[in-house]
């Protein structure tokens, strides 16, 4: 199988340096406002700082994938004597919690690495405490892995209904538009 190059974008979180200011939440919500920077609402941020001040917990977590169903079991971590709240490290917008959902519409939020912003991820830029570091690296991956999300979904639909049926449905739907 052919190998291709892929850029992996990572934000490294050095949580020990976090001073809990929530500046990252502010800038993320401001950037994603419509129009850009017209409003601020940290509850809409794609990064959330989980905090328990007296327990010395300051944990910036990025919004990951949406999941329609919650896990069967939950996880709870104790690190260095600090007990993190249930699901603290999970990035999913999940029915079990309000985190990473637009407070008005309830729609899931996902970090898009500030797509379209020239200087890159804004939370990284705005955090003056060097908690967040942006890294890019090239990785060689199997070509088939490169398949887009939609292709994966379509593949499963084809498996289920057969290619002909899917094709005619798509044709019908596109005429409607």
């Amino acid at each position: 199988m052919a190998k291709i190059k892929k850029t992996i974008k990572t934000i490294r979180v050095d949580a020990d340096k976090c001073n809990g200011c929530r500046g990252c939440e502010i800038i993320c919500s401001a950037y994603h406002a419509e129009p850009k920077y017209s409003s601020i609402n940290p509850a809409k941020s794609r990064i959330q700082v989980l905090t328990h001040r007296l327990q010395n917990i300051w944990l910036p977590v990025f919004a990951g994938e949406y999941t329609p169903a919650e896990c069967m079991g939950r996880d709870k971590y104790v690190i260095d004597g600090k007990e993190y709240e249930e699901c603290a490290f999970c990035r999913a917008a999940c029915p079990s919690r309000d985190l990473f959902k637009d407070p008005d519409s309830g729609l899931p939020l996902k970090c898009d690495m500030c797509e379209g912003n020239e200087s890159g991820p804004l939370c990284v830029e705005w955090c003056l405490n060097d908690v967040l570091t942006y890294e890019e690296r090239e990785e060689e991956v199997e070509e088939e892995v490169e398949m887009e999300e939609m292709e994966i979904g379509l593949g499963s639909l084809i498996d289920k209904y057969g290619l002909d049926k899917i094709a005619s449905t798509v044709a019908r739907m596109s005429q409607k538009d």
Partner: protein, 656 residues
């Protein structure tokens, strides 16, 4: 659509439990911006001067400022205002932390409490859901622990809680309001809160705050950010470490306490110990400090880290900032930093002001040593210094025995105790305990700041002008060369000519006229900060700050959509300051009250001091008694204030 402000206040009638969401007049932002400015206006309009601090009519206002919740770094102050039980004047202690942004996101600019609740309650503000909840189970709980208890009970880990402890419940005149790593502590806000039977105010908000021209605002913020980075990387040369950076004093970071322990006075603001900071002390203190401060923490949206999470073995954790690790131990003459961390924990849970309280305790110890307070007053008190202070703190916070008298603060306690106790009340201005500093030569700028500001607390007035003249001309030249913050170029010359000794030195230089101008500049900036609710540490309280008179108008214009220039901004805060002054005049403030403690400087110059005060009043447009003149009030669109002052006899017709 309202920009920067939400345009709504919460009005809480504690007597009936009625809660109203009230739209505010957009005009008020044009006239007073927000924060302290619009709060003062509300006190003027609604609380007549006959009102006593513990009358139901005394409003208790928790206010955000224009910039809370916006991306402006370090904008996180909450101004709490009320007529102070200690001073009888309008007090406005501020706290940093996280509360005010949360209130903005909940959709409100201010929470206004009136009347008194029949039973203990706390207010829970969650966007459109606002309720008074029973707090009887929280009575007696500490101001720090209450915050987590409420978060747990609400199941809202992100709720921000401002709470009082037992001292507030007992209406101790120096009771504070505690919130995360900050406190609104000066002037007894905790007592007024306790009098109204409000244990806490909890807030969580998930709504939008709007900017009129957001992209432009961010462009200006980019410059501010660059300057913050520049200043953090380049501490100022020629001044001591604590003054060389930006932000509030980084007391949780620095372990070197030579300056505080040797320059400030120990005990009841009495003794300077000029060789305290020995090698052994340094080693021991550094070890304790580093072993105790678990993490440096900031307030909302601030890149600095003035606060610390304190974890001292054997005492519950708490957060600390500023100078409080030293105030108790210095007042108690205890040479051990461990004591500082231990007693502060208890004091924060009680919820008391860590500047005033240690001085009151030290005052009590002096009275005991002088035989004015007796064994009977001190019955059951341990004889060691540490134990004695802890014992006194318990008494004061709970108003037990002699503590009931001490709880009213040094001034009132001295008058109640009598028998010569008044002599020991030597460090108050307008009945309020001052920093524990005693110096040699009169300083004209500090004279004015101590004497005149409505805050009655020096740390909230000084800032942009260096505390002392630089010895060498080259250093002065280097300093003024890169000084974009100054409102007028003439100040460069004032600074260049200012020398540590000789003709051009304190007390005659800066001249009274220059002194008035410099003090006015610093106050002006403090008043802007307090209207925006931006941390003074990033603007008015430090040298060469990121925010100043030249970039503030641009930021405010972009945020609010108003078109404001420097003159316009100055006029607004001048208006609010004059209104504040008029309000305090109505409450009984006089020229005679405007003086620093007798022993603040060893060398005093009565004639010069009179001239300083008169010159400053004149510069401000006030008459000999410190009352704003009719003309000045007219210029500031405050004719209604002039009328009121005339009606009440504070301004006499034709005799400004």
């Amino acid at each position: 659509m309202r920009y920067a402000e939400t345009g709504y206040n919460l009005e809480i009638d504690l007597a009936t439990g009625n809660i109203e969401r009230v739209e505010t007049d957009p005009k008020l932002m044009e006239l007073h911006l927000g924060g302290l400015g619009t709060s003062v206006k509300m006190h003027w309009d609604r609380v007549p001067p006959e009102t006593k601090p513990f009358d139901p009519e005394n409003l208790l206002i928790f206010s955000t400022g224009l910039f809370n919740g916006t991306p402006a770094y370090s904008s996180n102050r909450t101004v709490v205002s009320f007529i102070s039980p200690q001073t009888g004047l309008l007090a406005y202690p501020m706290m940093g932390g996280f509360w005010s942004a949360e209130l903005k996101y909940a959709g409100y600019d201010k929470v206004i409490f009136r009347n008194k609740s029949p039973k203990w309650v706390y207010l829970w503000v969650h966007n459109d859901t606002v309720e008074l909840r029973d707090a009887s189970h929280l009575e007696g709980r500490g101001a720090v622990e209450t915050q987590d208890l409420i978060r747990e009970e609400l199941g809202e880990p992100k709720a921000e809680v401002a709470a009082i402890g037992p001292a507030g419940e007992h209406k101790v005149f120096v009771a504070s309001i505690e919130q995360s790593r900050s406190s609104a502590s000066r002037g007894g806000g905790g007592a007024v809160m306790g009098d109204k039977k409000i244990k806490a105010v909890a807030v969580r908000g998930t709504k939008d705050v709007y900017l009129a021209r957001g992209a432009e605002f961010m462009e200006h913020m980019k410059e501010v950010t660059e300057y913050i980075n520049f200043r953090n990387e380049n501490p100022l040369p020629g001044v001591m470490t604590i003054l060389s950076g930006i932000g509030s004093p980084q007391e949780m970071k620095h372990t070197d306490e030579k300056w505080h322990t040797e320059s400030f006075a120990w005990g009841n603001a009495r003794v300077r110990r000029k060789d305290f900071w020995t090698k052994e002390v340094e080693e021991k203190w550094t070890k304790t400090h580093l072993g105790t401060v678990k993490r440096l923490i900031s307030c909302f949206n601030c890149p600095q880290q003035c606060g610390g999470l304190v974890s001292y073995e054997g005492v519950p954790r708490y957060m600390m900032k500023c100078f409080s690790k030293l105030t108790y131990l210095m007042a108690a003459y205890v040479d051990d930093l461990d004591f500082g961390f231990k007693i502060a924990q208890r004091a924060f849970e009680y919820g008391v002001d860590s500047f005033s309280t240690p001085q009151i305790l030290a005052f009590a110890v002096e009275l005991y040593e002088a035989g004015i307070l007796t064994d009977k007053d001190f019955e059951g008190c341990p004889s060691d210094k540490e134990g004695r202070f802890m014992w006194l703190l318990d008494r004061l916070a709970l108003r037990e025995g002699i503590g009931d008298v001490l709880a009213d603060g040094t001034y009132w306690a001295a008058r109640k105790i009598g028998n010569g106790a008044e002599e020991y009340d030597h460090n108050t201005i307008k009945k309020h305990e001052q920093m524990n500093i005693k110096l040699g030569m009169l300083d004209p700028l500090y004279y004015l700041m101590f004497a005149t500001n409505e805050k009655i607390s020096i740390t909230q007035i000084e800032g942009n002008w260096p505390q002392a003249a630089f010895p060498s001309r080259e250093d002065r030249e280097a300093f003024v060369k890169d000084w974009p913050q100054i409102p007028d170029d003439k100040f460069k010359q004032y600074f260049l000519d200012w020398e540590p000794r000789g003709d051009n030195s304190n007390p005659y230089y800066p001249t009274p006229q220059m002194s008035a101008e410099i003090v006015d500049w610093m106050e002006m900036l403090h008043n802007i900060d307090d209207a925006l609710c931006l941390c003074a540490g990033m603007a008015s309280f430090c040298l060469k700050p990121p925010y100043h008179i030249h970039n503030y108008p641009k930021l405010i214009s972009a945020a609010t959509g108003m078109d404001l220039d420097e003159e316009g901004l100055k006029k607004i805060v001048n208006r609010s300051r004059n209104l504040h002054r008029a309000y305090n005049i109505r409450l009984g403030l006089t020229r005679a009250d405007e003086k620093p403690p007798e022993d603040h400087w060893r060398k005093r110059f009565p004639e010069l001091e009179e001239e300083l005060l008169t010159t400053y009043y004149k510069y401000k447009g006030w008459n000999y008694d410190g009352v704003p003149t009719k003309e000045r009030l007219h210029e500031l669109d405050l004719d209604y204030v002039a009328e009121d002052l005339e009606k009440r006899g504070f301004l006499k017709d034709g005799q400004d």
